[in-house]
Amino acid sequence: MSDDYDAIVIGAGNAGLSSAATLQRGGRRTLLLERHNIPGGAATSFVRGRFEFEVSLHQLGGMGNGPLRQVLDQLDVTRRLKFLEERDLYRTVVPGVLDITLPADWQGVADAIEDSFPGNRARVESFLELCQEVGSWQLVARASLHQPQEQAAWLRGLPRVRRNGLRPAKEVLDEYFDDDRIKHVLASYWSYNGQPPSTLPFMDLARILTLYLEYKPYHLRGGSQAMSSAMLDSFLEAGGDVRFDSNVAEIRTRQGTVVGVRLDNGDEYDARMVVSNASAVTTYTRMLDPTVVPDSVLRDLRSRKLGISGTITYLGLDATARELGFTAGTNMITSELAENTVRDSMHSLDPTPYVVASCYDVDPIGFAPPRASHVAIFSVQYGRVWDTLAPEDYARAKYAYAQSQLDLVEVISPGLRDVIEEAEVATPHTLRRYLGHPGGAIYGFDQDITDSWLFRDADLKPNVPGLFLLSAWTTAGGYNPTIVTAARFSQRLLQL
């Protein structure tokens, strides 16, 4: 089969959808190919019994009047969706040590911490000020790579950004606070990046806090799947073609330049531009003729580590959020303050000391029937540890691990086990199966400071003429980064 397209996008994850919609709406005839039967990648949902389950979205950042909102407006997507602003950032619990809820508001955070840990107001306020400065800088600078002069001039005038940006979050927190409990509470978002505080770049903690405090956290009616479907709708309305159940096996090249793709069933499509939403590892080492991939790319890949994946237990519960004791949508529960316990657990199948429990019925997204609720329990893990199991031991291991997640959630929701109506457990293997990424990585490569765009902008350049990579593997993981970066980058492709 041969068809002439201006561009082919491999993968209908967040970045693939955003890129395809931008290209097609910009007048490029675009073909979107997705191996699964539904768009979204991680941004999807599934149904069991009376419940629908949100697969990934804990909290949507960058809405309000933030970067994501601007991109969704440009793509004519916003009007197709209903966004729900959340009141709270998160509730952080360490049993017997602390239990605090931070509202989604700069001043509110300072007030809440002062209430729980009196005498720290001044430190908290100046820490948050630093976060806001570094976070806002990063959000703008990342989007302005093509204006190096202006950016350099601006950065010269920001000494605190230059001093703290590359430091680990833990070091900066240690400088501001003595009380380990406050540091723990303020670093709760570490899991949204995947690095515990001692390797979490302060720049990224600042960016995440700014994204949610400045622009507020949101949920979506119909979940992330609604947004994926809305982006697809915008793409189709503009005349784009999509093919599901289409697994791209090869990116075809001629004399080192991209000429199209081949599916695993042998079908071929032609285009001089290919955008890959598949992992950088798969794209460069499986899909391309090895002779066209520059050594510098392989060297770069080798210097990276596969990023985190996770184990998620999805629960349909026959009780309301209030009956269950969920007062906040997002709940970070850790068995103790020591970071090492959590860090070790990311490489282990032992009972987990850490969960993010999201309840989607504090601000209902419409996935649970009346008087019931939907909860997802997430623990960060590296995929490797699941590879050590024999296939026949897999099911038992995943339920055992999930039991330990339930144990932790029962700290804030006693009796939760008694009202379970549906329960599914997804592990790094599940994510690998549905996303096609090595190790089931959900944010691409490990996001320590060496992964920063300040050091790794090469991926966004065409290392192979005609091929562009847009995904969590080439920008920060998460909804806002993947969608926004893909749209902005594809805007620039329209100029080519």
């Binding site: 039967n37 949902s45 599934f46 149904v47 069991r48 019994g49 629908e52 600078a141 790579l145 950016q151 350099a152 950065l155 010269r156 230059r162 703290n164 940006g165 590359l166 430091r167 009616r221 119909g222 979940g223 799947q225 609604a226 479907s229 697809l232 599901f244 159940d245 590892v281 798969t282 080492t285 499986r286 770069d300 080798r302 210097s303 990276r304 596969l306 237990t313 026959d318 419409g366 996935f367 296939p391 897999y394 339920y399 339930l406 086990r417 379970i420 109506e421 329960a423 599914e424 690998r432 096609g436 990424h437 090595p438 190790g439 060496t450 920063s452 765009w453 300040l454 050091f455 902008d457």
Partner: protein, 384 residues
């Protein structure tokens, strides 16, 4: 790796570039054979060979299937099914069958198939398949299996007809692994000689205190002295005792479900303690009381497939079947509305989607349906 020009403004920049250089020198290639890794538990396709055909009853046979390569089959959870992919009289189609053998046995899967009068696949299997034949299927899938997170250790299984197959796998697992779990099977058949696995079930029940089996016959002859009728609230309560929150599995012909749920309701058994196996669409379009009153279910409409042609088909033929009849192939697994594999977009016209279809909220909003549970009401155009 050259850093971005902005990087040099930062304190500690040299530490980071040095670390990157160190990793570049010492790094190793990443595993990228993701599809091979996935295939261990979730192969895209299983190539099977029929090792044995066992006659169970006058209308039922067990097909013992091994992997054509001789390797072990993928692990599964007792209660899951595979979807056979077949070509019969030139039409490519598929059917789901629960594995009736134990998950502890990975050298073969047993599929136990009862004849459905007029059914194209069951008759084909029973009448033509013999040892040595090749079959192709999906890997094991399905959500109708034991889940230790909430099912508990005291279980009841209400089976009708061939719906005993997943129960058989669960029972065999309890016995083979010596699990600390009790299961009470209440199994309804029409006649005593219709009971599938009768000898093995009764033998297990005698030897294994964890397993209890009761047969209930709806059309008994004079020789039958056991319980009779359907699996009513009274019969279930008398045989299995009070349900008191015990997880209750139900599997049988589609028409059984509405009745069985009413009985369980009557017993005050909460819905969250019931697991139903998806098993086809209960009411054909036209008989469903939500079907639009003024629309003739047997009349023909035109179904167009975006960019790929069109055909005529009666309204009461599910879209998936109609597409297959006309040479279009799409993924399908449960054919009961549940798994979403057969999802299609309705570009134009309207379809009737049966209640069994477990559609995502956004699928409803953005015009997608499950073609195995959807019937064209007007001329329609679909895309997949």
């Amino acid at each position: 790796m050259p850093a971005h020009p902005l990087a040099r403004f930062f304190d500690h920049v040299d530490d980071v570039t040095a670390e990157i250089a160190r990793r570049e020198a010492g790094g190793v290639a990443h595993p990228a054979a993701v599809d091979d890794e996935i295939a261990v538990c979730h192969p895209k396709q299983l190539d099977l060979v029929v090792a044995e055909v066992i006659t169970e009853t006058a209308t039922t046979k067990t097909f013992r299937l091994r992997r054509a390569t001789g390797e072990l089959l993928p692990p599964f959870q007792a209660g899951q099914y595979i979807s056979l992919r077949l070509q019969i009289d030139g039409v490519r189609t598929s059917r789901a069958f629960s594995v009736s053998s134990s998950p502890t046995e990975r050298r073969h899967y047993d599929l136990t198939v009862r004849r459905v009068p007029g059914g194209c696949v069951s008759n084909h299997l029973l009448d033509t398949i013999t040892p040595g034949d090749r079959l192709v299927s999906s890997g094991p899938i399905g959500t109708f299996h034991y889940n230790p997170l909430f099912h508990g250790e005291d279980l009841v299984f209400l089976a009708g007809g061939s719906g005993v197959t997943p129960a058989m796998s669960m029972i065999r697992e309890v016995v083979n692994r010596g699990l600390p779990r009790t299961l009470h099977l209440v199994y309804g058949s029409r006649r005593a000689d219709d009971i599938i696995f009768r000898a093995e079930l009764d033998q297990i029940a005698r030897g294994c205190p964890e397993i209890t089996v009761d047969h209930v016959i709806s059309e008994p002859d004079a020789d039958w002295s056991g319980p009779t009728g359907f699996l009513s609230a009274a019969v279930v309560e008398r045989l299995a005792g009070p349900l008191r929150g015990r997880m209750t599995y139900v599997c049988g012909p589609p028409a059984m479900y509405a009745y069985q749920l009413r009985q369980l309701d009557r017993m005050g058994h909460p819905r969250r303690r019931v697991r139903l196996e998806a098993n086809g669409i209960a009411l054909p379009a036209g008989e469903d009381h939500d079907w639009p009153a003024d629309v003739d279910p047997t009349a023909e409409v035109t179904v167009a497939v975006r960019g790929r042609g069109a055909f005529r088909t009666p309204r009461n033929r599910a879209l998936l079947d109609a597409l297959e009849d006309n040479g279009f192939q799409l993924e399908a697994s449960c054919r009961s509305g549940e798994c979403s594999m057969c999802r299609v977009r309705v570009v134009r016209g309207s379809v009737f989607t049966a209640a069994e279809a477990r559609l995502r909220t956004s699928d409803r909003d953005f015009g997608f349906t499950h073609s195995c549970a959807a019937y064209p009401v007007t001329d329609v155009e679909v895309d997949f």
